[in-house]
């Protein structure tokens, strides 16, 4: 069996498709409506958050609720520095800060098992939110701050770039030996350690990488809101929503994750203004139904259906 040509095929085809899609999307601002540009920016945001979440929590099977932490810090750094620095520099700087912070958080907490880790990440979110809020109330006297407004098209293009980068990174990691190693850590951590995998370094690294993208997304999206406060920036919905999107779409396949993000981002956009409660209700229902009947999400369902009709599918994505 020629393993090499097989590997090449699975790299080239998706890569070319992604490139074509990216080129089309990049051209959009010139002929798309303002509404659709904003709409797409939000969809990109969710794709980045969801893919970032899956990068870590997918293979390691440790559910992180820290997504909103990194996203929120991205927003805040953008707000604080945005007055002084051009967008590019600011995005890079915030990304680096977030990665460092993720390294610290990761290093400290990755020895927490299962549920403890999840509630820790959740507690972290609440802590930071309340800490910043207290700080603002006590010292600066105001809650929230104003953000420099940036052109919608610029936001769109930046988000497109970040989305592309995130997807590319996720894809490359998955296909590499590191992706395999991460998967092995999630399945049998002790055995993985015994075949030479430095579990702690791997987990912390991927955690930091995912945090970078979440942060970057936050920094760019911050410029969409003219005014932000801690409760908006560190909104726990940014932690929960990516989880739902990923689970619904199917954690095992990157394509599933993206589709889950698109579907829910779309639903949110059309329902959130008129029927916010119905949207969240639907959200909850889908979550429960997915847990009960769709353990591998939509992607898993599609895979099973394909395996049954075609007869023998792939072992892994």
């Amino acid at each position: 069996m020629n393993w090499r040509s097989l590997a090449l095929k699975s790299f080239l085809l998706p890569g070319v498709v992604l490139l074509i899609v990216l080129i089309i999307m990049a051209a959009l601002p010139s002929f798309g409506s303002k509404y659709s540009i904003i709409f797409l920016s939000t969809i990109f945001m969710y794709i980045v958050l969801t893919t970032g979440w899956v990068m870590f929590s997918g293979p390691t099977r440790q559910i992180s609720l820290a997504t909103a932490v990194f996203f929120g810090i991205g927003i805040y750094v953008a707000a604080i520095l945005g007055m002084h620095l051009p967008l590019v520099v600011m995005v890079l700087v915030s990304g680096l800060i977030s990665s460092v912070m993720a390294l610290m958080v990761g290093g400290l907490t990755l020895r927490l098992k299962g549920v403890y880790f999840t509630i820790f990440t959740f507690g972290l979110l609440e802590l930071i939110k309340n800490l910043i809020n207290w700080y603002e109330v006590t010292f600066t006297g105001t809650r929230g701050r104003f953000v420099v407004v940036v052109n919608n098209n610029t936001i769109y293009l930046y988000m497109l770039a970040i989305t592309g980068l995130t997807l590319l990174t996720a894809f490359l990691i998955r296909r590499s030996k590191y992706g395999l190693a991460l998967q092995s850590i999630g399945e049998q951590e002790e055995a993985a350690a015994h075949i030479g995998i430095n579990v702690t370094v791997m987990k912390v690294s991927i955690f930091a990488i995912s945090a970078f993208f979440m942060w970057a997304a936050g920094a760019v999206m911050a410029t969409r809101w003219t005014y932000i406060d801690p409760f908006m920036a560190f909104n726990m919905n940014y932690s929960f929503t990516p989880v739902l999107m990923a689970i619904f779409g199917g954690v095992g396949q990157l394509g599933g994750v993206v589709i889950g993000a698109i579907i829910f981002a779309y639903l949110e956009q059309i329902l959130i203004t008129q029927y916010p409660y119905y949207y969240m209700l639907l959200f909850g229902l889908v979550m429960v139904i997915s847990m009960l009947f769709l353990p591998n999400g939509l992607a898993g369902m599609v895979q099973k259906w394909r395996a049954r009709t075609v007869g023998g599918g792939n072992v892994h994505s």
């Binding site: 509630i119 207290w134 409660y277 209700l281 979550m287």
Partner: protein, 289 residues
């Protein structure tokens, strides 16, 4: 000086009694049924809003409405476990995966219940006044309803403790909390016990909701704050230890009261700092295994 200490201390106990009650329910659900019910606060909210409705629309005494809310909560919880969580247990490959899945399912429940509440009750804060008369305790004034709350919390805690230690079912629950599969082998109908515990947890949440509605205003999104506190207390007391949750609740309430005395805005921050430190340094908490 003494008055201040008394003031802070009793305020802490009042808060703590409520925290203890909230935490005990969650501790029961996680400690025995291994479900980290993130939606716990939503059941508290349901109890609170139901009590408000019964009081303002039908003029029913809040303390009496307990007779309706608690059993209703129990039944709701029992059914939820027998349908949702039992199936999750069957489809989860390992206990660890089940814990993750059941937590995510509880998230889903959180959104469902909270938004149903929004649709039924609307967004406006609601409140009613009941037993708002001040009571003088050693020079400090406390509203009667707060004292009733503490009294109730203690009562429910003690009754429940006796239930756990003296009755057959209570013993079955404790056995299941220690080791579910062995308890099953010893003849305990494990499915029923787990569902029972979950139901009791919800019933306790409903009670807590009733008590909260007596003291504070209620609204559909009030639940999360209590869920978080319940989690902190459960970790503080030790995951799986119900007496631990009780003590942890009182302790956290007192700490919160002390911190509030110095700077009200720091109370929540203090809670989270304690929480984070606990998880990093002693995740098993005060009395956990």
């Amino acid at each position: 000086m003494l008055v201040t200490i008394l003031d802070v201390g009793i305020a802490g106990l009042l808060m703590g009694g409520l925290y203890a009650l909230i935490a005990m329910g969650l501790s029961l659900q996680y400690g025995v049924a291994r479900v980290l019910n993130i939606g716990h606060g939503e059941f508290i909210m349901l109890g609170a809003l139901a009590t408000w409705t019964l009081h303002t629309v039908y003029g029913i005494n809040p303390l009496l409405s307990l007779a309706v809310c608690a059993p209703a909560g129990f039944i709701l919880g029992y059914i939820l476990h027998r349908t949702l969580y039992k199936r999750l247990m069957a489809t989860s490959a390992s206990p660890g995966i089940f814990e993750g899945n059941s937590m995510l399912a509880s998230f889903g429940l959180l959104f469902i219940i909270q938004n149903l509440a929004y649709l039924i009750w609307g967004t406006r804060y609601k409140a009613y006044s009941y037993l708002a008369v001040p009571v003088n305790l050693g020079g400090a004034l406390f509203p009667a309803n707060s004292l009733v709350t503490l009294g109730f919390a203690l009562l429910i805690g003690v009754v429940f403790y006796i239930f756990l230690v003296r009755t057959r079912i209570g013993k079955a629950i404790r056995a299941a909390a220690q080791d579910a599969s062995t308890a099953g082998l010893m003849g305990v109908n494990i499915n029923r016990v787990l569902a029972l515990c979950f139901g009791l947890g919800v019933a306790m949440a409903a009670c807590a909701g009733m008590l909260i509605s007596m003291n504070y205003s209620v609204f559909p999104s009030m639940g999360m704050e209590y869920t978080v506190i319940a989690i902190i207390v459960v970790v503080l007391g030790g995951l799986g230890s119900i007496p631990g949750s009780f003590i942890g609740g009182i302790l956290l309430g007192v700490i919160g009261s002390i911190v509030t005395y110095f700077d009200a805005g720091l109370a929540l921050v203090a809670y989270y700092v304690i929480f984070i430190l606990l998880l990093l340094l002693k995740p098993t908490g005060l009395m956990g295994k």
